[in-house]
Symmetry: C2
Subunit: 279 residues, 2 copies
């Protein structure tokens, strides 16, 4: 197993994180999860723009160019090892600091990258997924909404519940009971020629594939994509349901409780566009 | 500086955390901050009971006895080094695991302890503090309310703002605008013979010193202490304001914006009880 993964800290191979580190202490940091196709990171620019928004929101010193550079080093290793598909997690922590919540005035962020070979062919769309409903709801936090930061306990608890229920994924609501996402991805409902996804102004993570559906892919199929306030009743009445994340691309939904969806033409057509963009 | 701090991982001295670790990846863990007086951890049982509640809420395997044992090892080192006062941070991470949010079915938590000498005499009450109002509000999350988990970005961002404003501490509200806490501690308002502190059913951290005020110290002074729903208007009209945390014990508040409090007899009397309990 150890040959199938590799980790770097600030560009150097490593197996450990120096302590103290504010990423561990407070979740004071951000991350991105990139899919590598034969060593090429997919949509790296979109990932890095989201990372940059997060770095600004957390008032980190400028480190995007370094992150990009180290991402390339890791991607090259994945390519040299001949991994057809791999996942690369890029974590930026605020690094060391004195005790207490207050961040140091001049912090020295750390960049931790882990590349792991995947044993599935990511150019094939995954089979339709079963969904449950997560008991735990997203908290309302406009200051952090959309960002992929390291405070992810809600997803961890929802994922443990999902595993116990035996479904492939789970719907997460906000505190008002509106749809937000699945645990590890963004949610889409198809209504006729419209593709709707929950608005993420107050919570949630604004995924890279969500952005591609909204800004590029849906329009190419003549569909109107938009972010909206959506509830469970919209899910129940949707013609088709699917979700997105960086590893799966898009995955159709087969069932949510008693609701079933038997055909997934929109998801399949969007996935075909995605597949055609693979290097 | 290096002689004044020491770190252990699972009971062995260390300077680094093996990767991957879910504490870093997702904030999947808990922590406690204990004050050591001549090597004796204060109110360790109360800290460990809160830790236990957190371990249960996150469905960690049983590891409280190990945490207690390692805490004693670290405390003994602080005592042997002759540190009059020290702070001990005890972090429990869910440890390593495969990629993704879903926790492993049988995780192996890691216990990371850092002991740091303090250069102040913690038996003396700190001078009255200035408060500002944090822009960022606590998110509503009943599933995690009261727990001291590793997802602390809200405190980090509020603390950076407080530093820039130049106050000693800052009031944090919930999303409805009710009082919750200060950034690093619990808040108390004195109204005549009553000591009121915000209820923490939907957010906040239930501090050890808060519990002592509510359950023991206030009653010993003939005061009625209770947790309530409180707003900024209650703060403005309070006879006295103070806050608590494990390092300061209790600290009086001098000002919040235009409001000023010139005497602090209740906070002083409660602090005297606390000081009398020091070993």
């Amino acid at each position: 197993m150890s040959a199938q993964t590799a980790t770097w800290l600030d560009g150097a191979p490593t197996s450990a994180l120096p302590l103290p580190d504010r990423g561990l202490d407070f979740g004071d940091g951000l991350f991105e999860t990139l899919l590598l196709c034969r060593g090429a990171p997919l949509y790296a620019d979109i990932h890095l723009r989201r990372l940059q928004r997060g770095l600004q929101a957390l008032a980190f010193p400028e480190c995007l160019a370094t992150a990009r550079q180290q991402l390339e080093v890791a991607a090259n290793v994945a390519r040299d090892r001949g991994w057809p598909w791999a996942v690369l997690r890029l974590t930026v922590s605020r690094g060391p600091g004195p005790r207490g919540y207050t961040p140091p005035e001049s912090s020295q962020p750390r960049i931790i990258i882990t590349a792991t070979e995947l044993d599935r062919d990511c150019s094939q769309m995954s089979g339709p997924a079963s969904l449950s409903l997560a008991t735990l709801r997203w908290p309302l936090q406009p200051a952090l909404a959309g960002l992929k930061h390291l405070n992810r306990l809600e997803q961890v608890l929802a994922a443990a519940e999902r595993r116990d229920r035996g479904t492939d994924e789970a719907i997460m609501l906000d505190q008002q009971g509106q749809l937000v996402s699945v645990i590890a991805g963004n949610l889409f409902l198809v209504q006729g020629k419209r593709v709707l996804t929950p608005a993420l102004d107050t919570c949630g993570i604004a995924g890279t594939r969500r952005q591609l559906v909204l800004e590029q892919w849906a329009a190419r199929l003549g569909l109107q994509a938009q972010a909206s306030t959506l509830g469970l009743q919209d899910l129940a009445s949707a013609d088709e349901v699917f979700f997105s994340n960086s590893l799966l691309g898009l995955r159709p939904v087969a069932s949510f409780g008693e609701h079933q969806w038997h055909s997934h033409p929109t998801c399949q057509a969007l996935f075909d566009l995605y597949r055609d963009e693979l290097p």
